[in-house]
């Protein structure tokens, strides 16, 4: 275990974690006014209506995929009777499709941003850095899928991420980072993990914070909101139905 490995996989994750959580809390307190999607749909709608859902829905699947891949140990799926081959076929197939949607979506969004005059004028330096890291993370992620798929077909000797990356990831949360596990993974995975950490470190300081505010609460609140002048939320003055009814 070299010093570099220790720094990258043993120390850096915690630095990122502090930045991610601390940064988000700090910004939430300091910058409510800047906490928005900064939607550009007023300026351009046609491309956004294709690109944004493609990107976001693709990303949601990717996020779920990451959660399953990182959280569930290989032993559990085996115990549940899912063969490794079947697991990989599904994971790689779904991952590739979702990843490609995400990439196509983000490509369209970036192209739109660059070529639509009003949207380009409304793009800050902060946005540009965020897009760079975001696109790199997606591309590196797809590269890992590609490498793993190739390994499936050629039988090449690629370390399975479920015995390397995932083990390391879970070890972070119990405060004893398994540095050798991560060090044993493939180059593509290492790059993806590094860029991913960069994205998480940046996250709270960009427009991406809008993801924290996903308004699921809309389903449960009365339609018309009343508030009193001195800031107290008014009593629910009108009987209302819940959202699913």
């Amino acid at each position: 275990m070299s010093t570099v490995e220790l720094m990258l996989w043993g120390v850096l994750p915690y630095v990122v974690l502090v930045l991610f959580v601390g940064g988000a809390l700090w910004r939430y307190r300091y910058d409510q006014f800047g906490w928005t999607t900064r939607s550009s749909q007023l300026q351009e709608s046609r491309l956004l209506r294709i690109g944004s859902p493609l990107f976001h829905f693709g990303l949601l699947v990717v996020i779920v995929g990451h959660a399953v891949g990182l959280v569930v140990p290989r032993e559990w799926t085996r115990a549940a009777g899912v063969s490794d081959a079947a697991y990989h076929a599904v994971a790689l197939g779904l991952g590739a499709v979702a990843g490609l949607c995400t990439l196509a979506g983000v490509a369209l969004l970036v192209w739109r941003r660059r070529t639509t005059g009003p949207v380009f004028s409304a793009t800050t330096a902060n946005d540009k850095v965020m897009y760079l890291v975001l696109v790199l993370a997606i591309v590196a992620g797809l590269a890992t899928t590609l490498v793993s798929t190739a390994a499936e077909f050629t039988g090449a000797h690629e370390p399975d991420y479920r015995t390397t990356v995932s083990v390391w990831w879970r070890s972070i949360w119990v405060l004893s980072p398994d540095v050798p596990a991560m060090a044993a993974s493939g180059a593509a995975f290492k790059v993806h993990a590094l860029v991913g950490m960069a994205l998480f470190a940046l996250f709270p300081f960009t427009r991406l914070v809008h993801a924290f505010s996903a308004p699921w609460f809309y389903l449960f609140r009365p339609y018309v909101v009343y508030r009193s002048r001195d800031g107290r939320t008014g009593p629910a003055v009108r009987a209302t139905r819940r959202g699913w009814s």
Partner: protein, 565 residues
């Protein structure tokens, strides 16, 4: 009927006959609220010529824009653009968001060119430049592009209201009629903008019914823009937050009228308190027949002279001053006692609270043009019956197509005209004129005082906010000097969002928002000292006199003195 929970609303009535289409209201409103970048295209108050397309273009076409509520077959109300699940599913890209071009692309002029152009035979011109991109542009539409062009076949045939009245409307020159329709947010009793906001950042104030956007809670999901059928929520493309008419609440709270009312040249706006029963709002908005919505909304309002209403209002914590104000409210009088003010597009089912007295002038003009006496009640009544097109058009605007209430309103206005003419000519009062319009002489004279004399104190009857002392009436709360906030100009800084101090970390629109007064201060200052939309460095320090308000001596107004050079 039992009285449910009583709430108060500060509401407005506009008397359309008096609007001269001068746009003073729009300009003063803009100066006060939207002279910032990000909302250049937004007019919280706009004045449209009718027939015409309005602003944003064809906003009344709800088949397309999906604003407001619809009644489901089971009798419930549903947002026309879709319920909660659909809203969340389409959050990533709003399927029916108007683009800035449906309003118009805001622009400025390249004034700098006038002084920098090289010597030549041609007179230099200031060409338009887009305020969105800074590029030269062709101006092709604006907030009142069809001003005064009502009846022009190309434009008026695109008016959604005209299209509903049907092909009966021929825009032949002799038959045209025209009037102005000033519009602000309706501060609806059943606001679909509020219902559309996924974050819950929009709200209706309990005390005075003003509908506001909490700038700190808005997350830029931009669903409210679609939700409002009047298209009176605007998306600030700079800050990424929704903004809308605030009914000038800092003024209303201290008993002053809104800026648009205060500066209205025609003195046609009325402000006052209306009491209503919140529990009746939902059922009233859900009546089956659209034509009943006018009546059902009247049924939501409570008569402030009724002792039972007063008792219920006290029970629900309405202060005595507000009750008194409600009794004297010109708005309640015009809406409910005289029934001459009507709601704009009740069929959107939002129960709007800015009502309109329909214009008699198209009728009077037609009678006059035919060579008859335009103040004779029978001529006017005859014309109201004969001029189907203006009446039907007005009915499509104000009563979902039911001509009855519009006719009643016009006949009452006609009666006021004829009845008062006799008095002015020294003749006897003729009670029969009032009777023919279904009213009495005393009521006609009351209307005359309210509509024709229209004294300031009769037009605006506004109580101060709960808990604000009446001694503060007319004093807008300033927290010390409004420029003296942390790192503000009064404290030696330039304010966070203005370039000279370090920029805020997450782009221009982040950090604490500047108070509006500070933004205005800087906007004027920057505009005075720059000619180009994109602040050209070579022109720094020059003064653009077009933006100089005549106060002070802006830097660079005069060339530097000898020793400073």
């Amino acid at each position: 009927m039992a009285i449910g929970r009583v709430m108060a609303q500060v509401a407005m009535v506009m008397n359309l006959d008096k609007c001269i289409g001068c746009h003073t209201c729009s300009v003063t409103c803009k100066q006060a609220w939207t002279n910032r970048s990000g909302v250049e295209y937004a007019w919280f108050n706009n004045v449209e010529t009718r027939p015409g397309q309005g602003y944003p273009r064809r906003y009344e076409d709800q088949e397309r824009w999906k604003g407001g509520w619809v009644r489901t077959r089971s009798g419930r109300l549903k947002l026309r653009a879709g319920g909660r699940l659909k809203k969340l599913a389409t959050l990533f890209a709003n399927p029916v968001m108007p683009s800035v071009h449906d309003y118009y692309e805001p622009w400025t002029y390249d004034y700098g060119h006038l002084i920098t152009a090289p010597l030549g035979d041609d007179i230099p011109v200031a060409r338009p430049r887009s305020l969105l991109t800074g590029e030269p542009m062709q101006v092709s539409w604006s907030a009142n592009w069809d001003d005064d062009l009502a009846g022009g076949p190309e434009l008026a045939s695109q008016d959604p209201v005209v299209q509903r009245v049907g092909d009966k409307v021929r825009f032949e020159f002799e038959q045209t009629f025209m009037f102005y329709l000033p519009r602000i947010c309706e501060h609806c009793l059943n606001p679909s903008c509020v219902a559309s906001c996924p974050s819950g950042a929009m709200y209706k104030r309990v005390e005075d019914g003003i509908v506001l956007v909490d700038q700190d809670k808005c997350r830029g999901w931009r669903m409210c823009v679609t939700g409002c059928p009047y298209k009176k929520v605007y998306f600030n493309h700079k800050t990424g937050k929704a903004e809308k008419c605030t009914l000038c609440y800092p003024r209303i709270e201290v008993g002053m009228p809104t800026i648009c009312s205060e500066t209205c040249v025609g003195r046609l706006r009325y402000l006052g308190v209306v009491l209503y029963d919140v529990e009746r709002v939902g059922p009233a908005a859900a009546v089956e027949d659209e034509k009943d919505l006018y009546g059902s909304q009247l049924g939501v309002f409570l008569d402030p002279d009724d002792p039972e209403v007063q008792e219920a209002a006290r029970r629900d914590g309405i202060p005595e001053a507000w009750l008194e104000s409600a009794r004297r409210s010109p708005v309640y009088a015009l809406i409910a006692r005289h029934r001459i003010a009507l709601p704009l597009h009740p069929e959107y089912r939002t129960l709007p609270m800015v009502w309109y007295i329909p214009p008699l002038s198209p009728v009077v003009d037609a009678v006059g043009a035919a060579g008859h006496d335009g103040e004779d009640v029978h001529n006017l009544f005859g014309a109201i019956d004969a001029l189907r097109i203006p009446v039907e058009y007005l009915a499509e605007l104000f009563t979902a197509g039911d001509p009855g209430p519009v006719e009643h309103s016009l006949r009452t206005l006609a009666a006021v005209r004829s009845y008062m003419r006799r008095i002015n000519l020294g003749q006897e009062r003729d009670e029969s004129i009032a009777r023919e319009a279904g009213t009495t002489g005393a009521r006609v004279e009351e209307l005359y005082r309210l509509l024709a004399l229209a004294k300031y104190d009769d037009r605006y009857v506004i109580p101060t906010a709960y808990g604000v002392d009446d001694a503060d009436r007319g004093v807008i709360e300033e927290i010390g000097c409004s420029l003296d906030f942390e790192s503000g100009p009064g404290m030696g800084g330039m304010g966070p969002a203005h370039g000279r101090a370090p920029a805020p970390p997450f782009g221009e629109a982040s950090g604490r928002p500047d108070p509006a007064s500070v933004e205005t201060f800087h906007a004027l200052r920057t505009r005075q000292s720059s000619d180009a939309p994109a602040d050209r460095a070579d022109l720094k320090g020059r003064v653009n006199l077009l933006n100089w308000d005549g106060n002070g001596r802006p830097e660079g107004l005069f060339p530097p003195r000898g020793e400073e050079r």
